[in-house]
């Protein structure tokens, strides 16, 4: 991938100079689908900015409008109102040749891979270059380079039907990368894959982002994908962005109910109802700890320093955005003023503390 790396260098220089290459901006974007007299608002006033070289995740349940959102970026759909700027160009204003040229600067991968079943893997990957009129020999040489990068050299002569799901997605990724795009769009690319394969594909996407500075816009309904892959996240519901921020921040301080639901799929936040009923709510707290906070002797400080008794009900730890995030649910009992003091003590030592909802 010599071509890619040399190009990448010049691109990052430009990026530092404030270039728009690789940047995606949604400016008050709405999209309404009309079928007969029925109108469906798929997007309502979406405002987002994806920085060049970042990995941006969009999460939402099906029907939230996230698929429409990603399809606006490469002009598969046009906004009803507002603008979608890609590399600083208003993509919705383009058509015909201008649109096709813009589409050639982004790569896209799909849930169902969408490979040609009747041509070999190498020619699937070479296809975008063949569309550009590049000779078959040159296109195949380049395809082999990219297949090598995604670790599928051995399957170049196979047909898609002979590959596993993960391998098919690697072919899809190779095909999307063959033109050195600055932007990669991933539409539920891991949703048809098992957890192990999902992790491998996520690792591959991360390495693409790191090595070539490719902007990656990921649409998914899996919070695990956001946790392991994205830098920033936007949560969508009913055509609107309801919450947006860094992934770590969103995991630590989800502001909306829907975000909390998604966070719960990765970090379970509840106790069994029976246990809750038995314990009662007073002094029942959920603590979130980040990085160094995880290693402090919190519990023993509480017991010996503040003279309360502590019952540890739940503890787990996970890795988010290269940060260690710990969670504990504890029940603190003792005289009321000591419990209050314990809470104040904890509030200074951990990133987040809250009563566990009954």
């Amino acid at each position: 991938m010599v071509q890619l790396s040399s190009r990448q260098q010049s691109v990052s220089t430009q990026a530092r100079a404030g270039s728009d290459e690789g940047r995606i901006v949604f400016e008050g974007v709405s999209k309404t689908f009309t079928r007969g007299v029925a109108q469906t608002a798929a997007l309502r006033g979406v405002q987002l900015e994806v920085a060049p070289g970042s990995i941006f995740g969009v999460i939402g349940y099906s029907g939230a409008g996230k698929s429409t959102l990603i399809r606006l970026v490469n002009g598969l759909e046009k906004p009803t109102s507002g603008r979608v700027l890609v590399d600083g160009i208003d993509i919705g204003a383009l058509s015909g040749r201008g649109l096709r040229d813009a589409q050639k600067r982004t790569g896209m991968i799909f849930q169902q891979f969408n490979l040609l079943e009747t041509v070999r893997v190498r020619d699937n990957v070479a296809m975008p270059l063949r569309l550009d009129g590049i000779s078959q020999a040159a296109a195949r040489t380049r395809a082999d380079e990219v297949l090598d990068f995604v670790g599928l050299s051995a399957k170049a002569d196979s047909f898609a039907g002979e590959l596993s799901g993960g391998q098919k997605q690697r072919v899809g990724i190779a095909r999307a990368l063959v033109r050195n795009p600055r932007i990669l769009l991933s539409d539920e690319a891991t949703s048809a894959l098992d957890p192990t394969t999902t992790t491998q594909i996520i690792d591959l996407l991360r390495s693409i982002n790191r090595e070539y500075g490719t902007t990656i816009l990921v649409v998914t309904h899996e919070m695990d994908v956001i946790k392991d892959l994205a830098d920033e996240v936007a949560v969508m519901a009913d055509g609107e962005v309801v919450e947006q921020g860094s992934v770590l921040d969103t995991f630590l301080h989800p502001r909306t109910a829907i975000t909390r639901d998604f966070v719960t799929t990765v970090v379970p936040q509840g106790l069994p109802d029976r246990v809750l009923a038995h314990l009662g709510g007073e002094g029942l707290w959920r603590l979130l700890l980040v990085d160094d906070e995880v290693t402090q002797p919190l519990i023993s400080d509480l017991i010996t320093g503040l003279g309360v008794s502590v019952n540890m009900l739940h503890a787990d730890m996970t890795e988010i955005q290269e940060h260690t995030v710990g969670q504990m649910i504890i029940k603190v009992t003792g005289p009321a003023e000591k419990v209050t003091a314990a809470r104040a003590f904890l509030a200074e030592r951990v990133v987040h503390i809250e009563e566990v909802a009954q």
Partner: protein, 222 residues
């Protein structure tokens, strides 16, 4: 009638008839396939949600196809005689039969081709669009290759239907195997003539089907 011979047909007569059938079948199939693929492509591309969505073109072409397909071949054969004269200068003989045969088979192949093209997964076409492929590239590099197995089966089905229709072409003096069966086997009570034409037709149909199935299998998805 000559009662000395046990059959009225000679190898020459049979050979000529077979050649006429194969000519009608071959030429009408080639012309019909070219037109049919074009019709099918336009139907598939201009329909709602198609790559070149175009309501007027889609509606008009679909109507023409439906009209042509609603006519029984024996009626079409006579109904378009003025057109046939215009094209080949005569309304009798093999050349004159090829015109209505083509007019009959092209819309039929067109519908089959349309169906084959619509079987190509939407996702593949979306992937093509996302790569910035032109509508022509989408058709030639994505839809046609992905549909080719099913297209070959469609042409196979059409060939058998076409063979069926060539039997009626005898009524405009084009001869052929079917004419042999009618004018010797039926009208002159020549049982052998009837038997040999039936066997020949069965062999041709079996041959077409065998060829089509095997070629299609080779081109089907792996």
């Amino acid at each position: 009638m000559n009662h000395d011979r046990w059959t009225l047909i000679t190898p020459d007569l049979f050979g000529t008839a077979l050649l006429q059938t194969l000519q009608m079948l071959g030429v009408a199939l080639v012309l019909g396939s070219i037109l049919g693929v074009a019709i099918g492509a336009v139907l598939a591309l201009t329909r709602q949600g198609g790559v070149l969505e175009n309501r007027p073109v889609s509606i008009i072409l679909a109507a023409v196809v439906n009209v042509l397909r609603s006519l029984p071949f024996i009626i079409l054969l006579f109904a378009i005689i003025p057109f046939t004269r215009l094209v080949v200068g005569t309304s009798i003989g093999v050349a004159a039969a090829i015109v209505p045969l083509t007019v009959m088979i092209a819309p039929y192949i067109g519908r089959l081709v349309e169906n084959s093209l619509l079987e190509v997964p939407r996702g593949v076409i979306e992937a093509a669009r996302s790569m910035g492929a032109t509508p022509w590239q989408i058709f030639t590099r994505f839809m046609l290759p992905e549909a080719r197995g099913s297209l070959i089966l469609a042409v196979t089905i059409a060939s058998v239907g076409l063979l069926d229709a060539t039997a009626m072409a005898g009524t405009v003096g084009a001869g052929g195997i079917g004419d042999l069966a009618v004018s010797y086997g039926y009208q002159r009570y020549d049982g052998f003539a009837m038997l040999i034409t039936v066997i020949t037709l069965v062999i041709i149909v079996q041959g077409i089907q065998f060829l089509g199935t095997n070629v299609a299998r080779r081109y089907r998805r792996r």
